[in-house]
Symmetry: C5
Subunit: 364 residues, 5 copies
């Protein structure tokens, strides 16, 4: 991946695109890296389904009159003018629109009189995983979604609408919003599953002692978990608020589905927490195994060296050139009959003595 | 244990079986690894008891009319059709059924108008321990339970029903549900007791200095505690909700039992917390003991080497081949009368001096 | 202390005696290690005091009629039948009795219509400290206490009753219950004081550099603090509930005393927290001092070795046996007039140069 | 930067200027390092805008009568008399004024009957970043701000007033206060973005193994995050209080803007938390990489040394000067035909044997 | 400082003086180390001020009748009888008096019908800092304070009363109590400021690499912060309770001052938290720098040694005494024309080769 696209991904995931200090609220700073916008409209009801890609938001009016539910889906946030036109069409607050464009928003729920706005983060598998902002607005007869980058993340939902499978064609925009949220939540499962499998594999490697670079790998998983945490926890809060507030926009029948979606998000949150603990534990294990192995090696080698040091010294002594001819005190061993065997025996017994001593001290 | 069965256990315990992103709610993804389902029905009341293994859920109707309490127990979640048939028979919500099949649910309580649903995790002793999902549904005259794998975990409860011991035959389905929950909770005690005993044994080993691989063992215990924590804490929350909500399905007399069960779960949670602390402390102790011992060995050996280094040098000096015949400055020691004893004395005093110095510095 | 009694102490303190999974509630599993039970009854009022050791709980009836307050104190939980007889006499719930026998309960408060039940943990000084369960039941005219092991922990309270000192003879069972609770709380002070003094002594040892085995000692204190924490914190919660609930069984005048007792428990909790922090800090300090000292030694020794290595090499060079007679290129130094002094000077200057270099690098 | 100015920055950021113990409240201690004060007044309304730099606060009266909103902005807190004069003019409480001068206040909100007072901390980019106190008071027709040091932090807000862009000229002092707060919040984004980029760069360096001094750099970032945290979190609390309290001073229309500002502050808080985690992870990674590299080097070198030790010993043995002429036991090898090749072969095979052994042990 | 006085300070700060287990409440254990008591009475009102040192509490009656506010200040808690006499005079509860004498109380607020009691901890600068208990009782027309040791901590407050500066002479006992509390809080500022400056100096030392004993110094600061935390946090809680409770004893006008005092305490708490983080960060930095420097030294030295090891071996080989006269295979090099230069070149190239290899591996 190019350095630039990595930088973009990071920005999308971490700080996002933000406003200039002191700028007027509701007037977004334009992001030169934003994807060009593409608009698709879906209209559906019990008796049919229609789909169009539009260039001009003006065409939406036809759908709103004709179908019980109109879903306007925008991919790419490059066309600020189109986004503002849509905002005006559906009576959205300027600050809501600013939040669409200034990505990197904290997942949140906003209750307005005519519509609800939900900002969540859609996880994208890959390496490293990243998240992008998805803004969902829904009112009496419409759902309006803005996604940062193109992608077929909602393909199965669209198919269910097309095929009229399940409740979706009977139900209102709240059920569609739920379906999208649920799809967002469900995207997290394979991601955490993959991360968990990676940690499992790492654990095996660490136990086998073949994980030289495990700390880098663990750090990598941890970074990705940090990203997930930042996306999942505020989403959980938003769903809790949504469930505890009494909103006319949400039908009673949809509540049980939302609660289910909330359970999913809780579960993801639990798994993320659990995996973070797992990471820390693995890191500790890895470090402790590494240092254990290192210590083992060092200790044995040091003992080894320590045995040779004194016997090399003995060899050095008998390598001195003192002249035995001068006096009987000058290295008489050199002329002993058993001098050499004596020296070898001295060395051997020294080595053995040390070996026994070190062993008894349990130094190797 | 085979790699595959370990993988299955892990999946059961960690992420579980999950839905495909964007799939319609209530339509479960089929899990190819699920156990085949087996259905047993128990009917009982003050004046009797009946038990049948059924192939077809249709036979349950007889029980429901005949006995005050009918308990339908399903082991193994492979037969999705049977589960759905049961769901329909007892009027369960589709999402509830989906949760039965998509295992790995967070322990939770759900209140429906006609029934309560409790999802808990049953701990299975063994090494490593693992947990599986148990779904309990109960209404006015029935209890319906789904367990992931076959097992005789509720044998004592069944015996109490058969023998009519205690209150169980007098009481309603809420008491049976409590009895099952209590059995679930009680399964945790021997598990945490075993873990505690393992940690105690590890502590002894660490103090004796014989625990070379303690970090692996501690890591292992910690992983199992993490699993327990994830099961126990949400169960605690569910029981708290159950106790604080005013539900007609639970008789006043059963409340005190549920509170007792809640106390048990609290107690397990406390022990798990405490053991996690214990683990961390042991790990620290282990690392500190290891590094202490390592340091001791290294220091003594280094001091040892450091004493030999200068005296080996002296031996080296007198091993040089300078010709003493050329001038009186060229190694006159070689021809001294006491040259060799002088050299030996020089070495001995150097070694002694260093020994004293190092000792005074407390380096060994 | 024998291994078995240590095991018993641990069980008492950590997991306690627990029920068999699936067993009927209220039917306790018998603990073979329980102490035999001894029953003492105290009756008192403004005008007198009476004390009897009874074999048979039936004799209690006389006291209940005669004295405003009857205190039944049982030490040792071996006699399950007697405990159940007492329970029946005072109308206690079966689950309450089960909790008495299944020790290792979490400290808790239970409100029943006719009595209050408080489970707390009594700390026993010693090494290691341990805690045992004390169950306090009190109603309109009685206090009933069950203590795991015999001991004279409440001697001062009994003396105050006997001597009629203070308010105790005027007041009801609630004041007696408070006095017992207060005695339980007060037992913690000398224990934490001792632990604090031990940590202080350890700190001094660490600063003096004489604490080779400090990590073991700190670990030991930490284990004991963990035990205290598990006893004190739930007790605090219980007292908070007791104070915030409006209970007819507790007179207004006793409330201020209970609040005082609550303050004591809070204070103990604070000290325990503080000491736990102290432990961690000491451990860090110890490790850092150890590694600092180790590093110092290693560094100096390594520098020392590094200076001798090159000069030993020089000695080795001039110990080579090349024949200077063959050509003028073959070790002419050996026949130089100042060969030996030159070699010595070379060694000395090398050593000096390295010394200066290492010093400048601040390696020793 | 000079030592003194660093000290000043630190004082401004950490403890601030504080009162003398026991001094009367509302009588500020004068800070000799405070900047001289400069006063600017802005008056505006739907139909115009006026700006003056004043020497004397008395001139403000004209503005208050003439314009719907009067904004008095003071930069530098050296002129205590002027500050008190302003305070009297706008009816501020003495303690509020003391808080203006005793900088280092915790960000807070105070509700008075005639005005609201908000104390926040303005972040100043640079290295190291620092924060200064900004006190905002606003009432029915005025906003009064005190900033510790001069700076053009609100230039864009002033420009919006001058140019009449957006809502600002239509709205009351609450909207101006919001605009200032929003500008304060927005200043944090580039700061955290910069810190994040620094951490990213550090991560790359650590992975490449070129980050020798990373721990210093990480420590530096962490210190700055600590400063941000201390500023952002209380600000969040203040905004929450502001939003949850029903204050007549804030129009309904401004609420949605304040909520947006609150979202920004939440987001900054999240990022700060996330970056703190990032720091810890990076530090761990760095240490683990460092120690890994160190271990690698040490191990290979030790193995290397360990191979030469025994062969050097062999060379030493054959360098001994025992006289082979005395007996056939005295170093007969010296006179063997193949003595030298034998010795070399012995050395080579020893070295090889060790190499194989160490390799098999995976010590290098 | 003598060992005994250090022990006393510690006891005062940590566990304090506590009751004997089981002792009757309200009957304090006498502390042999308590300071002798000294009693001073201040009476004041709008029109005057009077001050007396009294031997006998009986003389207080005159003041109570004469002055709107009477402040009785006791320094030293040795005279239990006097304290009890005062308690009776002002109608204090026995438990309140016990708390005065059993120092080491947790800072707390107690509301009685006729008086309020506040227990706080007064910080004493010095090294190490310590804290002592200050008990403040105030009712309709009196303030009663008990301080553990003599000291002129409230000198400025007394001066303000004497000189009639500020509001103090107009206001009631609640304002005096506030003034004392504020003085207590203000004493913390210079203490935390000093600690912060010490940490700053330590940071500089660590960066310069001259902080050999930094871990001891950091540990010391941390210990002192722990003491501060234990004093400040409960004080914060007490003030919160005081502010949130509606008490007739506190005039509306004093509330704003109490809130200000609460802000100060919050601010101290924040600084303490922040400094604790700072400590941890510094400790980590210190350890990482230490180990970094150690590693640097060790690595360079090891590389250094590793270069000399093989060349010393070569020297050793040519120092062997094989007889070249026996065969042409026996060390023919010794008699080569260029034997010695060849050996030197061999050594030099070996050394150079290793140097290049190690450098390339980046081991130094």
């Amino acid at each position: 991946m190019s350095r630039k696209s990595r930088r973009l991904r990071r920005r999308r995931t971490m700080v996002g695109h933000y406003t200039k200090p002191g700028a007027a609220p509701g007037v977004p700073t334009i992001d030169p890296d934003a994807h060009p916008s593409a608009l698709t409209v879906y209209g559906y009801g019990l008796d049919g389904f229609e789909e169009h890609e539009l260039e001009d938001p003006a065409g939406i009016g036809d759908f709103l009159g004709k179908w019980p539910v109109t879903w306007v889906h925008v991919e790419g946030l490059g066309d600020t003018r189109m986004i503002y036109a849509l905002g005006e069409r559906f009576g959205l607050h300027q600050l809501s629109l600013e939040d669409v464009i200034h990505t990197g928003q904290r997942p949140k729920l906003e209750v307005h009189s005519e519509y609800l706005s939900l900002t969540v983060r859609l996880v994208k598998a890959g390496h490293p995983i990243f998240t992008e902002q998805l803004s969902i607005f829904f009112g009496k007869n419409f759902v309006l979604t803005f996604q940062e980058t193109p992608g077929s993340d909602f393909e199965p939902v669209i198919r269910r609408i097309k095929e009229g499978a399940g409740r979706i064609r009977d139900a209102g925009p709240d059920y569609l919003a739920y379906s999208l949220l649920d799809a967002v939540a469900d995207h997290y499962f394979p991601v955490v599953d993959t991360l968990e499998a990676r940690l499992e594999a790492l654990e095996d490697k660490i136990f086998n002692g073949s994980g030289h670079d495990s700390s880098v790998a663990i750090h990598d998983v941890k970074s990705q978990l940090r990203i997930l945490r930042r996306s999942v926890f505020p989403m959980r809060e938003s769903l809790e608020t949504l469930l505890s507030t009494d909103l006319s926009m949400i039908e009673e029948a949809s509540r049980v589905y939302l609660r289910d979606c909330h359970d999913h998000v809780m579960r993801i949150g639990d798994i993320v927490f659990s995996l973070e603990d797992y990471c820390s534990d693995l890191m500790n294990l890895h470090l402790s195994m590494m240092s254990h192995r290192m210590n083992e090696a060092m200790r044995v080698l040091t003992v080894f060296a320590s045995i040779f040091i004194p016997i090399t010294f003995i060899a050095g002594v008998y390598g001195m050139n003192f002249n035995p001819g001068i006096s009987i005190w000058n290295m008489p061993e050199l002329n002993w009959r058993w001098g050499y065997p004596f020296a070898l025996a001295l060395m051997a017994s020294t080595a053995l003595g040390l070996l026994v001593y070190f062993r008894r001290k349990r130094w190797f």
